[in-house]
C-alpha cells in the first residue's frame, strides 16, 4: 500500500470567464500529499482555491490538468465516472450544515441514505446502524425523527459528520466545518472530530481559514495563496518557524487572547493590500504585490518550492540558494 493515501500532482483547475481565453485560475499547479492517518490543514484567505481543491478531489469538478491519486488509483475524473468503492472511501462535510442537510428529510432518512446506497446494512438493521452513528457523534436516539430545522447549528453539523462517517471513509474532507459556528460549539465539534479521527485512523483534509484552530488540530499545515501552495510544514515547525512572508503576515494578523500567544506572533510584518483577482494573477511571485520583502527577481520569476527542513517546504525567493 502506498504511504500517501492522497497524492495531488500538478493539479490545475481553471474556470472560463465571459471573455475568451481568460480564465479564473482557481487552482494553479498544486502538489500536495496526504499521508495515511494524518490531518492536513489547508489554510488560506477566501478566493485562494482551498475549496476548489476539495471539490476537485471529491469529483464535483474534473481537473483542467494534473492528476489526483487515491491509494495509487487515478481519480482525476468526475464522480459519475468513479467506481463505487472509491466513492465510499471519500466523504465530505460542508461548511454550512443549514444548507447541506435536506430540510424535507428527518435525521433517520438523512443517515440511512448512504447506508442504502452502499448496501452497508440489512433493511431490518438500518435503524440500529443509524443509532450507532448518532452515538458516534454523541447525539441521542431522540434525534432520529427530528428534522434539521429543529436542531441547532452545532447539532446539525454533528449530523453532517455522522452522515460522512456512515460509509466508514478512509479519507474525509472537511470544508470549513466550523466557520459558521460559535466558538463554544466549535470546541465540541472539533473534539468529536479529533476523537473519531484517532479512533478510526482516518485521514483528513481540513480546509479552513483559521490558523489557531489548525495549531491545535492538524499534523501538517499547508498555506495557499491565489491557487498555489506557499508553504507546507509539520504543525509545530510551522508555528515556531514560519518562513514565507505571507505566512508571517497571516500569523501576525490573528487576534489572540493571551500574552503568551502574543509572543508567538511574528511582528516584522503587518498586513496590507488585498488578494488580487485570480483572473489576472501577478507575474513572477504571485504574492509580490503585498510582500514587504520583495526583491527584483520576485517581479519576474515564479519561485519553486524549496525544501528547508524535513517536510518543510516554502515557495519564496528569499530562501533560494543564490
Amino acid at each position: 500500500m502506498p504511504e500517501n493515501i492522497l497524492l495531488i500532482n500538478k493539479l490545475k483547475k481553471y474556470f472560463p470567464t465571459t471573455e475568451r481565453d481568460r480564465y479564473v485560475k482557481a487552482v494553479d499547479n498544486v502538489d500536495l500529499a496526504l499521508k495515511r492517518g494524518e490531518i492536513l490543514g489547508v489554510v488560506g484567505e477566501s478566493g485562494s482555491g482551498k475549496s476548489t481543491i476539495a471539490y476537485t478531489v471529491m469529483g464535483m469538478y474534473s481537473p483542467t490538468s494534473g492528476q489526483i491519486l487515491f491509494e495509487g488509483q487515478d481519480i482525476s475524473c468526475e464522480t459519475s465516472r468513479r467506481p463505487m468503492p472509491v466513492k465510499k472511501d471519500l466523504q465530505i462535510v460542508f461548511q454550512d450544515p443549514g444548507t447541506s442537510l435536506n430540510p424535507q428529510r428527518n435525521i433517520l432518512q438523512i443517515l440511512e441514505l448512504p447506508l442504502k446506497v452502499h448496501r452497508l446494512a440489512d433493511p431490518d438493521n438500518t435503524i440500529r446502524k443509524v443509532i450507532e452513528l448518532l452515538e458516534m457523534v454523541e447525539l441521542s436516539e431522540e434525534y432520529l425523527y427530528k428534522y434539521p430545522r429543529a436542531l441547532g447549528g452545532g447539532e446539525r453539523q454533528l449530523v453532517a459528520i455522522a452522515r460522512a462517517m456512515a460509509t466508514g471513509p478512509k479519507l474525509m474532507i472537511l470544508d470549513e466545518p466550523t466557520s459558521a459556528l460559535d466558538v463554544s460549539v466549535q470546541a465540541k465539534i472539533v473534539n468529536t472530530l479529533i476523537r473519531l479521527q484517532s479512533e478510526l485512523g482516518m485521514s483528513c483534509l481540513f480546509i479552513t481559514h483559521d490558523l489557531s484552530l489548525m495549531r491545535n488540530l492538524a499534523h501538517r499545515v499547508a498555506i495557499m495563496y491565489l491557487g498555489k501552495i506557499m508553504e507546507v510544514a509539520p504543525t509545530q515547525d510551522f508555528f515556531e518557524r514560519p518562513l514565507h512572508p505571507y505566512t508571517q503576515m497571516l500569523l501576525s494578523s490573528i487576534p489572540v487572547i493571551s500574552k503568551e500567544e502574543e509572543t508567538l506572533k511574528p511582528d516584522r510584518i503587518t498586513a496590507h493590500g488585498e488578494i488580487p483577482s485570480p483572473v489576472d494573477i501577478p507575474p513572477g511571485c504571485r504574492f509580490h504585490t503585498r510582500c514587504t520583502l520583495a526583491k527584483d527577481i520576485c517581479f519576474t520569476q515564479e519561485p519553486d518550492a524549496i525544501q528547508i527542513g524535513p517536510n518543510h517546504s516554502v515557495s519564496c525567493h528569499l530562501f533560494s540558494e543564490d
Binding site: S184, V190, E260, I275
Partner: protein, 326 residues
C-alpha cells in the same frame, strides 16, 4: 459623572412573534465614558445587535421596548408609548453605525458617490445649503480617511465592483461622514479574511482615536475585543454577565460562561481545545426564571434557578452577575 456619554439602564426589549413575545433583552446595563472603547461580546443570538439597534432607534417593527432608559449625552432617548407598541425612541444625533454585512448595508443600484453624498447632504446640509462641489469634496475626504485608494474612481463605482474589504471601508467612510461622538461597529469584520480584518480594525481604531470618538464594538471574537478595547461586556441570552477592563477579564475571568468561552477559543500555543459549553441559548419565549445561564452552568447553585443575580463587584472595576461571587 460629567463625562458619561451613554447610559443604558434596565433595558427590556422583546419581539412580538406568533405565539407570544420573545423576551430577548432582560435588564441590560451599559455605561460608556466619552472617548472610551468598549466591546460587547457574546454568542450568536444573545442580543448584542438588538442592544445596539435600540440605542440607534432602528429596531424592526415587531420589536417592543418594554421598559428601561437610554441616556445619550444626558438626554433620554426613550419616550413612553402605548402598551402594545412599547416605548418610542428618538434617534440620537452624533451616533453612527457600521453594520456586519456591507453588501446588505449598501444599495446595489446606486454608486458609492450617490449614497455617500446623500448621507452628507442629509447630515450636514440641515443647517446650511451645500454646493455640489463641497459635498463631493467632503465625500472624497472621508474616503481618503478610510484608507481607500483612488477615491475619485470609487465614487463612480457600484458596490458590486468593490471587494469585501473595500465595501466595509466605504461603510466606515459613511459612518465617519456624519462623525459625531459615538461609533457603533456591529461585527464589522466577521465576513472578512484575517489579513483584511487586521487592516479594517486598525483603521477603525486609528480613526476613532484621531477624532476623539467613543467606540462600541460588537463582536463574537474575544481576540478582536482584546485587541481593540479598554473594557469588555460579556453578554449571554440578553443579560450582561460580566463587565471588566480588558486586561482584567483575560487575566482572571469570573463568570462560568466567560470561562467556558475563553476555554473554547483555539490558541496559538497549541494547548488543545476546551470542551466547549454544552447545551444552547434558551428559548426566549420561555426564558429561565432565574439566571439565564443556569441550564448550561456546571457550577450552578440551587438559588440560581429562581433568582436573577445582580452585577456584584469583585474589585478593579470588574463586575460579575453570578451568585458565586456575592
Amino acid at each position: 459623572m460629567a463625562n458619561t456619554i451613554l447610559n443604558v439602564d434596565g433595558l427590556h426589549v422583546g419581539y412580538r412573534v406568533y405565539g407570544g413575545t420573545l423576551k430577548v433583552l432582560d435588564g441590560i446595563r451599559l455605561v460608556m465614558d466619552a472617548g472610551e472603547k468598549i466591546a460587547v461580546v457574546g454568542e450568536t443570538g444573545c442580543g448584542k445587535t438588538t442592544t445596539m439597534k435600540s440605542i440607534m432607534g432602528i429596531l424592526p417593527r415587531q420589536a417592543v421596548i418594554r421598559k428601561g432608559q437610554i441616556n445619550f449625552k444626558g438626554r433620554n432617548l426613550l419616550t413612553p408609548g402605548t402598551e402594545a407598541r412599547g416605548m418610542r425612541t428618538i434617534r440620537p444625533k452624533g451616533v453612527s453605525m457600521v453594520f456586519q454585512d456591507p453588501i446588505a448595508a449598501l444599495n446595489p443600484v446606486f454608486t458609492v458617490g450617490q449614497q455617500l453624498s446623500d448621507v452628507i447632504k442629509y447630515s450636514r446640509g440641515q443647517t446650511k445649503q451645500l454646493s455640489k462641489q463641497s459635498v463631493r469634496d467632503a465625500a472624497i475626504e472621508v474616503l481618503k480617511l478610510s484608507a481607500l485608494p483612488d477615491p475619485e474612481r470609487i465614487l463612480t463605482n457600484y458596490p458590486f465592483q468593490l471587494s469585501g474589504g473595500m465595501r466595509q471601508r466605504v461603510c466606515i467612510a459613511m459612518a465617519l461622514s456624519t462623525a459625531g461622538d459615538l461609533l457603533i461597529a456591529d461585527e464589522p469584520t466577521t465576513n472578512l479574511d484575517v489579513t483584511i480584518q487586521d487592516q479594517v480594525l486598525r483603521l477603525i481604531r486609528n480613526l476613532v482615536e484621531e477624532q476623539g470618538m467613543s467606540l462600541a464594538l460588537v463582536t463574537h471574537s474575544l481576540g478582536v475585543a482584546r485587541q481593540m478595547t479598554d473594557r469588555i461586556y460579556i453578554m449571554y441570552a440578553g443579560t450582561m454577565v460580566e463587565v471588566a477592563p480588558t486586561e482584567g477579564l483575560f487575566d482572571k475571568p469570573f463568570h462560568p460562561y466567560t470561562k467556558g468561552l475563553l476555554g473554547s477559543v483555539p490558541k496559538l500555543t497549541g494547548e488543545g481545545i476546551g470542551l466547549g459549553i454544552p447545551g444552547r441559548i434558551p428559548d426566549y419565549l420561555k426564558p429561565p426564571a432565574g439566571c439565564r445561564f443556569y441550564p448550561r452552568c456546571e457550577e450552578a447553585l440551587p438559588e440560581c434557578k429562581d433568582n436573577k443575580p445582580e452585577l456584584y463587584d469583585v474589585g478593579g472595576g470588574h463586575r460579575v452577575a453570578c451568585f458565586l461571587y456575592r
